[in-house]
Each structure stands twice: as structure tokens, then as C-alpha cells.
């Protein structure tokens, strides 16, 4: 079968995020580009967080998946610019996170840096939609999430940090 860019995007879109399997690595926005060259396919990726341990797992899965698709030589390039942002998650993806029990990130504002330093804004509970929640910890089970507790339905939950 002829290997085309759109076919490869579709193939990569079938790879779930190793830590949040409800969304794919393409929906997450870490796959930045696919370039088909004469002798190889070059995939450019950007990490969500500098030290994200899932990156290695993603690379391995990309290689496995594309090899199965008949691509012989794959090169994975890591880029840092533009830096990954949660704004690359589509509304549909965010909804899927919420259905999965993870409070999705709000949209970043233009001058987000300073407000973020003081930001204590409330996160909506993904289960009962209440705003009566509190932050348990800014760091959660993965680099991209924080821990919260809902005082209304008494459920602990995770929040995909605005980044």
C-alpha cells in the first residue's frame, strides 16, 4: 500500500497516550509533524513536560505501529519550539477527559505568566460540576496533572493542569 502522510496521521491517531489512554498522542498534540522522505519517515515530537517519562513509551509505540504499517526506517526528532500547551487540546478532547474523570484545563490567557503565579482559581469537579473544590496538591500521578477534592460530592479527582 502507498504510504501517505494522511494515512500515517491516521495510524498515529490510533496510539493512546500511555498515561491518559482516553486520548491519542495526536490529540494530545505531542506529534508535531510527519515528513515522508525517500528513505525514511521523520516524526517530530515535543514533550508535554521536559521530564515526562511517557515520552519514551510513545516513541516505542510509534516505531512499533509504523513498522507494522510497512515503514522501514523511522527517525524521531525532538523539538522544543513551539512549547507544548494545553491549548492544543480540542474542545472534543477536553470533553473526553472530563468524561474519563479528569477535569480538563481551561484556556490560557494571553498574559498567563503572572496570573499563574497567583492563580488560585477554582477547578470544576468532573463528576458533579460543582465549583466547591479544593486543591490537594499541585503535583499528581503524572507530570501533567494536579490533585483536587470535591467538597460537594466528596470525590477526589485529577485536573489536567493548564500549561
Amino acid at each position: 500500500m502507498q504510504i501517505t502522510e494522511s494515512l500515517l496521521w491516521k495510524t498515529l491517531n490510533e496510539i493512546p497516550d500511555p498515561e491518559v489512554p482516553v486520548i491519542s498522542i495526536v490529540e494530545l498534540g505531542v506529534v508535531r509533524g510527519i515528513l515522508i522522505q525517500e528513505d525514511k519517515v521523520v516524526i517530530t515530537m515535543t514533550p508535554t513536560y521536559s521530564g515526562c517519562p511517557a515520552l519514551k513509551a510513545m516513541e516505542e509505540q510509534i516505531i512499533a505501529k509504523l513498522t507494522a504499517e510497512g515503514v522501514d526506517k523511522i527517525e524521531i526528532k525532538l523539538i522544543y519550539k513551539p512549547a507544548w500547551t494545553t491549548d492544543w487540546l480540542s474542545e472534543e478532547t477536553k470533553q473526553r477527559l472530563k468524561d474519563y474523570g479528569i477535569a480538563p484545563p481551561p484556556k490560557l490567557t494571553a498574559s498567563h505568566i503572572l496570573p499563574m503565579l497567583k492563580d488560585k482559581s477554582l477547578v470544576q469537579c468532573p463528576f458533579c460540576n460543582s465549583l466547591e473544590t479544593k486543591l490537594t496538591s499541585q503535583f499528581g500521578s503524572t507530570a501533567c496533572k494536579s490533585l483536587h477534592f470535591c467538597n460537594h460530592c466528596h470525590q477526589p479527582f485529577e485536573h489536567f493542569k493548564c500549561h
Binding site: 513536560y49 521536559s50 522544543y80 512549547a83 505568566i113 499563574m116 503535583f139 500549561h163
Partner: protein
């Protein structure tokens, strides 16, 4: 023309700061006072080690001798490390660790805020990434400084002691030499002197909220990390961090 040697030295400084603080925080893994803090410190360690990977691999590429970021992390001796002495100080108690992270992350936050405008594409990209992460470290450590300072008599005394002990290492954050001069002229790095006033303001804001007393400046202030001068603590840290690659060169798993 871009001075590759200066750029490499500069990347080593940025990378070593993150690597050494990241390693220190990783020592807390499994020893945190509560589960959430154990996770938080491990998360921050991951961020920092990830940042250092970016800077060190760029330094290795600029050097062009076929070394990798791992070679730079595991096979250099203490005198070749160019981190500031603040980050190599042993963890001490939880208050000490939080104060060390706080003093460093205020500086790193200001420094990365400038470096996003660096004319070097790689540095500005890594800075943009690191900045987002360091904001969380800053908030986390500042929260704890306030909570402990404005807490019980014992917690107040411990965090004040941490501040007093670490104060000797704060001037060094702003130390510069000819490497900086060269890169400042090219718009790759920025004058650290210009960060000082803002650092003072942000630090003062938090320590006054924490009801702490800012130490006087008529004490001994360390200098020379960027020249490879360190406290004895770095050697012990490296002995542990580098053990495996030193004992089993080239080991992989």
C-alpha cells in the same frame, strides 16, 4: 560570529543547575513527609532532570566531540560542574529543601522569563518549556515557606534557620563572567544584575508573608560555582549519582 565555546559553557551552567537540584529532590523519593509531597518532589525532580537533558544535550552537540548528555552528567568530575552552590546543598529537613527550592525557583523563573527572548532558538525554546514548569515549583515552594513560617513555633524556627543558612549562597545566583559578557552582546543571554531587584522583591514578599526575617548581607557569600568551585557536598552527591556509570562504564538497561 557566535562563540561556540561560550555558548557551550553557558548551557552547561543552566543544565548543571537543573541536574543537581533535580538529583537532590529525587533523593526524597520514598522519604517524603506525606504521600502528596513525596509525589510533588519527585515530579519537580523529573521536570528539572528533563530540563537539564535539553541543555546538556545542546552543550554536547556544540562541543562536537561525540559526547552525549549522559556522558556530561555521569562522567565529569566535581571541578567540571558549573552549577551554583545553592542547589548542591544537602536536603536537610523538609523546610530546608523547600527554602532551597524557593530561592532557586524565584531566580530560575526570572532568568527563564528573559531567556525566552534569547536570539538562540534552542535556548529560547528550552526556556519557554522550563518556564512553564518552574512556575509550579515556585508556587509550591512559596506556599510551603509561608505555611511553615506562619505555622507553629517549631516550623517557624526551622524555616528561618534554613533561610539563614542558605542566604550565603544567594549572591552567587547572579554571578557572571566573560562567558556571559560575550553572550549578552549577541543577545543570547541577559545581564543577571537586572534580575536582582525583582528577585529581592519577590523573595521579600514571600518571607514577609511567612513572618520571617530577611538575613543581613554582612555575612560570607560564596562565589565561584561557574568556575567549578564547590562546597564539599557536590563530591558526595556525584559519588552517588555517578556510581553506576563509573563502576560499570557504558552500562545500559
Amino acid at each position: 560570529m557566535i562563540n561556540t565555546d561560550s555558548l557551550k559553557s553557558y548551557c552547561l551552567r543552566l543544565g548543571d543547575n537543573s541536574l543537581i537540584l533535580g538529583h537532590r529532590l529525587s533523593e526524597w523519593c520514598g522519604h517524603g513527609p506525606v504521600l502528596e509531597e513525596d509525589i510533588a518532589m519527585s515530579n519537580m525532580a523529573l521536570d528539572l532532570i528533563g530540563q537539564s537533558r535539553g541543555f546538556l544535550s545542546y552543550a554536547a552537540k556544540l562541543e562536537g566531540k561525540g559526547r552525549t548528555e549522559d556522558d556530561l552528567a555521569y562522567l565529569r568530575d566535581a571541578r567540571e560542574f558549573v552549577n551554583c552552590m545553592l542547589v548542591e546543598q544537602p536536603n536537610g529537613d523538609f523546610a530546608f529543601t523547600m527554602m532551597r527550592s524557593f530561592l532557586y525557583s524565584v531566580f530560575a523563573y526570572l532568568n527563564f522569563s528573559k531567556l525566552v527572548n534569547s536570539k538562540d532558538e534552542t535556548i529560547s525554546g528550552l526556556a519557554e518549556k522550563s518556564l512553564k514548569e518552574i512556575i509550579y515549583h515556585y508556587r509550591h515552594s512559596a506556599d510551603w515557606v509561608i505555611r511553615l513560617g506562619d505555622g507553629t513555633t517549631e516550623s517557624h524556627q526551622k524555616i528561618q534557620q534554613a533561610l539563614d543558612e542558605l542566604w550565603s549562597y544567594t549572591d552567587e545566583l547572579f554571578e557572571m563572567d566573560e562567558v556571559n559578557e560575550v553572550l549578552i552582546k549577541q543577545g543570547i543571554a541577559f545581564d543577571l544584575k537586572n534580575l536582582r531587584a525583582e528577585w529581592d522583591q519577590l523573595v521579600n514578599e514571600v518571607i514577609s508573608k511567612a513572618t520571617l526575617k530577611r538575613p543581613g548581607d554582612n555575612i560570607y557569600k560564596s562565589k565561584g560555582g561557574i568556575k567549578g568551585i564547590h562546597t564539599e557536598n557536590l563530591g558526595f552527591l556525584l559519588a552517588e549519582m555517578q556510581f553506576l556509570q563509573r563502576a560499570y562504564p557504558g552500562a545500559k538497561w
